[in-house]
Symmetry: C2
Subunit: 341 residues, 2 copies
């Protein structure tokens, strides 16, 4: 069972993999070998290479774990957290820990051996976004979980493996993550002072300013955030206030799909297929607890953060939490606005 351990000073949680522990020789200094893993476990026809599917968008009459699907969700073969068991919270002297309970799922975005979400049809992207919503909602039923995060790692420099097949991941957690809490608390403070959502204010200013605006289509904006940590960092936000991604309707799923695809096309074209991550920041599950939970619907605003991985994070950033961004977001936005796709 992996362990969840809490840093006693700043409250940061760490998942310690106690089962398949890595020894010193397991860390190869430069694993630049980019040879693809074949056969691809995520292609249609290779369903037996993955664990049994959790759910799928399938053609009528097609069978579970057989071809005929459009989007397929399977448990991770190397889950960072385990679905079975009790949380078993306990102290350990001055430290706190609990069992590494959670869900870790792989969302296979297409049956075809395609590397880029931006190569898919609009309808296919919308299917992926629908599956995100359904999986987050389904895991909400498990009262052990406080948060579900959907994210994508593209290319090894962004933490992916050597399998080049378009997919994203979902991890459901028994504790609300520190970074999410930081956003919730910040948004709550702003609302308490201004009686307005900070994200809504940000959208209004970006739409008026236009300098950091990349796209404004179908009810969504894509912006280069004012305090971008990374070159060409891009956020996608719904123009209409909404805290929970899971409240999105089908029309907006289509709009978000077109926005996401267009942004990814532009990033890929401009930066020549860079490594990147994206993360869906949605509100935590509603659980009977105090604090930010009570006002979260008004304070928070779900969004997607896309971060190309073009620079390396060094000691200064790790130590301080300051970031150094060599590309002003106004220039990043201009490039992304003007690139022809």
């Amino acid at each position: 069972m992996p362990e969840l351990r809490k840093d006693p000073i700043i409250g940061r949680w760490v998942i310690v993999a106690t089962e398949r522990a890595k020894r010193p020789n397991d860390f190869k200094p430069d694993q630049a070998d980019m040879v693809e893993v074949m056969p691809c476990p995520f292609c249609a026809g290779n369903e037996k290479l993955t664990p049994t599917e959790i759910t799928a968008i399938r053609a009528e009459g097609s069978q579970r774990d057989k071809p005929g699907w459009e989007v397929r969700v399977v448990p991770s073969v190397s889950p960072v957290l385990r679905i079975e068991g009790e949380l078993g919270k306990c102290p350990h002297g001055i430290y706190d820990m609990m069992n590494g309970i959670g869900a870790h799922e792989i969302i296979i975005e297409t049956p075809k051996h395609i590397d880029h979400l931006s190569s898919l049809e609009d309808e296919e992207v919308a299917n992926i976004l629908t599956v995100y919503k359904e999986r987050i909602l389904d895991l909400e039923k498990d009262k052990r979980f406080k948060y579900a995060m959907v994210f994508k790692n593209h290319k090894p420099a962004a933490g992916s493996t050597r399998i080049k097949h378009c997919r994203s991941q979902l991890i459901a957690l028994p504790a609300c993550p520190k970074n999410v809490k930081g956003e919730l608390n910040g948004a709550k403070k702003y609302f308490d002072y201004k009686d307005r959502c900070v994200y809504c204010d940000m959208i209004a200013q970006e739409l008026a300013d236009k300098k950091r605006l990349i796209l404004d289509i179908d009810g969504f904006v894509a912006i280069a955030p004012f305090a971008s940590r990374f070159p060409f960092e891009t956020w996608i936000l719904p123009k209409e206030h909404s805290a929970h991604y899971t409240n999105i309707n089908d029309k907006d799923i289509n709009g978000l799909g077109r926005t996401l695809k267009e942004v990814m096309l532009r990033i890929n074209r401009l930066l020549q297929d860079p490594p990147y991550n994206y993360m869906l920041h949605t509100a935590p599950y509603k659980r009977p607890k105090g604090g930010y939970w009570s006002t979260i619907d008004q304070d928070f605003h779900w969004h997607i953060e896309i971060t190309p991985r073009l620079t390396r994070v060094a000691g200064f950033e790790w130590g301080t939490g300051f970031y150094i961004n060599p590309t002003p977001p106004e220039e990043a936005a201009k490039f992304l606005r003007e690139i022809k796709v």
Copy 2:
């Protein structure tokens, strides 16, 4: 002038380099070219390849910017912050920004073309640690600065350049960094509740437990922290409580030097010269402000965090602030304790 921009939601500061802005083509997808830069600007005899020195430990009678030094401090040739100017704090609609005022210095640790601090003599390491203290104290006189962080990037994967000459860096900042504030606030909360320093309690538990203890010599401990974020993460702490590194005396500088050298020898041997960062976490400068400043001497405990860079941080970690560590700290400590050097 670089800009300091504040994220309006979570209060994270970002340094945006407006002067030497990087354009899309400046990010090479895989700059694995590890060819060394020659001649080395940090070797004795090449002093004219760096800006004029700020200070140095020199043989009597030797001249500034000439050979004869042991440790030499120069301004960075590509500073992320500028020393001249006013802070010029100002709003920008809902956003906050100020000029990128700060100091960015390179501490050249040896006149010889050596890549490893652990290859230096004990006395040479002590000289480096003395210079850390002197530079932090000197920059404290500049009332614009709130914090000074000393750190080291070893190898490109840890954010270093292709110059293989042993050095560290110092950046003085006009705002207390978010991560430091997190530590200060956490330590303060613990003290408020327990009337004890959390770091002192941690040291006591690690000395009793011994499972995560790596070294216990000369008044210092090296431990694998309970909630290690990274494989083989190692912290060095003075056993005697002290908030400000700059209060260290000469005897303890020697002890710290031996501890740091021994830890680095073990990490290099065990992990075959891995990329790593280390960061000196000391208390912020005392400035007339409220909050944690008033009780910092009792709450906080300076330390050095050493983080080998063996794994990649991916979307999940970026999104949540959770870390996934594949090596339990108990095993990391055992390996580091038992390796022969």
